[in-house]
């Protein structure tokens, strides 16, 4: 009986710890959401953790359509669209290239292909600061400075290392005998990819797309360096919005804006968390 009771106390301690940390992780989200529904008066007088007394959408509407991000005051809407315009093509292109690269690197290796893969893998680790300056130069030469296309290009170039890594590691586990069997059956390089590999690739496409989507949507460095006034992605706009202090500081608008910027990736996480975590583990090298 005694042993049993100490066992229960131990369990209680464990659950208490787990719950306390759950609160720690949830707190910022809770604060962001509640603050975004308060008006500025309530923020000044009330406290951080209180629920909004008189919920209002004022901050959300302002953050979306009229808050100032630097000298312009059109809210986050246009920048949200910029991010969409950057993310969609960049994700699709880098994923397709990664799938083909991974297919070659796992099943059609040739002299030098392992070296190439090693160099690509190594490239995943380099701090982007070492390529920022020359890349800016290249984009200028190509006439792509400060354009959405330029940003898509940058994200594709530095995303392909990861998409290739993902697909290569996935396809390595597809039995090579399937390729041999298909070759004997008369299938060509692309037919084997189309008929044998694509049909089994749904999970890895999901993982890769989610990973790339999260990375590119959340990117700030490339956004802040390579975008111009009209082409900034949402992360840059959010940062500008928060740091633009015209008149009084409107924390409720800041918070609404932050939630808007976080929403797409949060939704992906909530609905496809399993694949998100798999991507994290696979792409852990990037951090």
């Amino acid at each position: 009986m005694v042993a049993n009771r100490s066992f229960n106390i131990g369990r209680l301690f464990i659950y208490a710890c787990l719950a306390a940390f759950a609160l720690f992780y949830l707190a910022p989200l809770y604060v962001m959401l509640t603050t975004s529904f308060k008006d500025i008066e309530e923020i000044r007088s009330g406290n951080l953790l209180a629920l909004p007394q008189d919920p209002t959408l004022y901050a959300w509407i302002k953050a979306w359509s009229s808050a100032c991000t630097g000298s312009e005051c059109q809210g986050l809407a246009p920048f949200f669209m910029n991010s969409v315009k950057i993310v969609v093509p960049a994700v699709i292109i880098s994923t397709v290239i990664g799938a083909l690269n991974g297919y070659v690197l796992s099943k059609w290796r040739f002299r030098g292909s392992d070296l190439m893969f090693g160099m690509l893998l190594f490239g995943c680790f380099i701090p982007f600061q070492v390529i920022l300056l020359p890349m800016a130069r290249l984009l200028a030469e190509l006439g792509l400075a400060n354009t959405v296309t330029g940003l898509v290009l940058v994200h594709v170039i530095y995303g392909v290392a990861f998409t290739t890594l993902f697909f290569r590691n996935f396809y390595v586990s597809v039995p090579t005998e399937l390729v041999k069997a298909a070759q004997l059956d008369g299938a060509s390089f692309f037919q084997i990819f189309r008929h044998i590999f694509l049909p089994v690739s749904l999970p890895i496409f999901t993982v890769t797309i989610i990973w790339q989507f999260t990375q590119i949507w959340n990117d700030f460095l490339f956004g802040v360096v390579y975008s111009g006034p009209g082409t900034q992605p949402i992360t840059v706009a959010l940062n500008n919005l928060v740091n633009t202090s015209m008149g009084g500081k409107e924390y409720n608008v800041d918070m609404a804006a932050a939630v808007i910027a976080a929403l797409p990736t949060l939704l992906v996480y909530i609905f496809a968390g399993k694949y998100f975590v798999r991507g994290l583990t696979a792409g852990a090298v990037k951090g």
């Binding site: 005998e177 041999k180 069997a181 004997l184 059956d185 008369g186 299938a187 049909p199 089994v200």
Partner: protein, 365 residues
């Protein structure tokens, strides 16, 4: 026509020579088995025949046509893989017809062939299933069906039965033999299972270290092994090897404390080579309980043997004793009711005994 000529084929990766000049001439309709321990190069040779790997040198002729450089799809060869390699996302019917589809055979024709093959292999009720929904034996049949559908010139089987349990393996072995009888297509079959090799093959090529040690009918391989490796590899339990002195064409064997001279069929050859020590090779079934043998009394020797272990196996009883301090296996009839113990009376038949050179392991006679 499905004859296949393997002419001086070699394969090396850098400094490592996997195949060191393989020559095999396979007749149309022949069932050839490549057998050998893992790493002997048999699977590499198989891949070269299929066109999945390139030979380093040498040529390959299929039905009189040089196919050394032809790509796999242009060789008209089908293969059954050890892992079956069924396409996981396709159902059985599509697995079987995929090769035809890739060769642009019209749909009706494909359906007809799938139907025919499925009936032949008794898998017609499985056509809509995915490979993951099949048992091991069923997968095996589908893999064979896929190969059959294309009616190729040559079938390659790469250890097709090694993933099945023992009972199913025997069943499928018989099935493959029947199939070969019925279709008459050339088969090259890789295995490391010597029983499979003995039961299925028209001819066997025993390989080791990238060299064909011996190429011959099962009977030749079993009774006239070219060297100690072949003799030891084929047969279970393997041939007994005992180092012996040779005096006057007789091998001197010490058993249960007594020495016995055993008459050898090849005394002249040993004498001609001037050897006085050889490795005596004698199959377990040649060491038995005393039994009447009407002919060739010359080759029979009686002696007593100390049995350390007796292993009843149902049809036979294996008993293990020692000659010259080496373990030897004997195959007894269970009716003799032998038990472990000293001084058991046995009979040794040396009519088929062989002798090997101690240094080279090559057979002397």
């Amino acid at each position: 026509m499905g004859s296949l000529l393997i002419d001086n084929v070699t394969k090396s990766f850098g400094e490592t020579n996997i195949l060191k000049g393989i020559n095999i001439d396979i007749q149309d309709g022949e069932f050839l088995i490549l057998v050998g321990p893992s790493g002997c190069g048999k699977s590499t040779l198989m891949n070269i025949i299929a066109g999945l790997e390139d030979a380093t040198s040498g040529t390959l002729e299929l039905a009189g046509k040089d196919v050394t450089l032809a790509s796999p799809k242009d060789r008209d060869i089908a293969m059954v893989f050890q892992s079956y390699a069924l396409y996981p996302t396709m159902n059985v019917a599509r697995n079987i017809s995929f090769g035809l589809e890739m060769r642009k055979v019209p749909k009706e024709e494909r359906d007809r062939i799938v139907d025919e093959v499925a009936k032949l292999l008794q898998i017609d009720h499985l056509l809509d299933r995915k490979p993951s929904q099949l048992s091991g034996g069923q997968r095996q049949r589908v893999a064979m069906g896929r190969a059959l559908a294309r009616s190729p010139r040559v079938f390659l089987f790469d250890e097709p039965l090694s993933n099945l349990d023992a009972k199913l393996r025997v069943e499928m072995r018989t099935e493959i033999k029947k199939l070969h009888k019925r279709l008459g297509t050339t088969i090259v079959y890789v295995t490391h299972d010597q029983i499979e090799a003995m039961t299925l093959a028209d001819r066997i090529a025993v390989m080791k270290d990238g060299i064909v040690q011996q190429l011959g009918t099962p009977d030749e391989i079993y009774n006239n092994p070219a060297n100690m490796f072949v003799a030891g590899f084929m047969g279970s339990p393997p041939m007994n090897f005992i180092e012996v002195e040779v005096e006057d064409g007789q091998a001197i064997v010490e058993s249960a404390g007594e020495t016995h001279p055993l008459k050898l069929p090849c005394a002249e050859a040993i004498a001609a080579k001037g050897l006085n020590r050889v490795v005596l090779g004698i199959r377990p079934e040649m060491i038995t309980e005393p039994k009447p043998a009407p002919e060739d009394q010359d080759w029979l020797h009686s002696m007593s043997l100390d049995f350390d272990v007796v292993e009843p196996m149902g049809a036979d009883t294996m008993a293990i004793g020692q000659w010259n301090g080496v373990d030897i296996h004997s195959r007894l009839s269970p009716k003799a009711g032998m038990t472990a113990g000293k001084g058991t009376e046995i009979q040794v038949n040396t009519a088929k005994a062989v002798a090997f050179d101690i240094q080279t392991g090559e057979r002397i006679c």
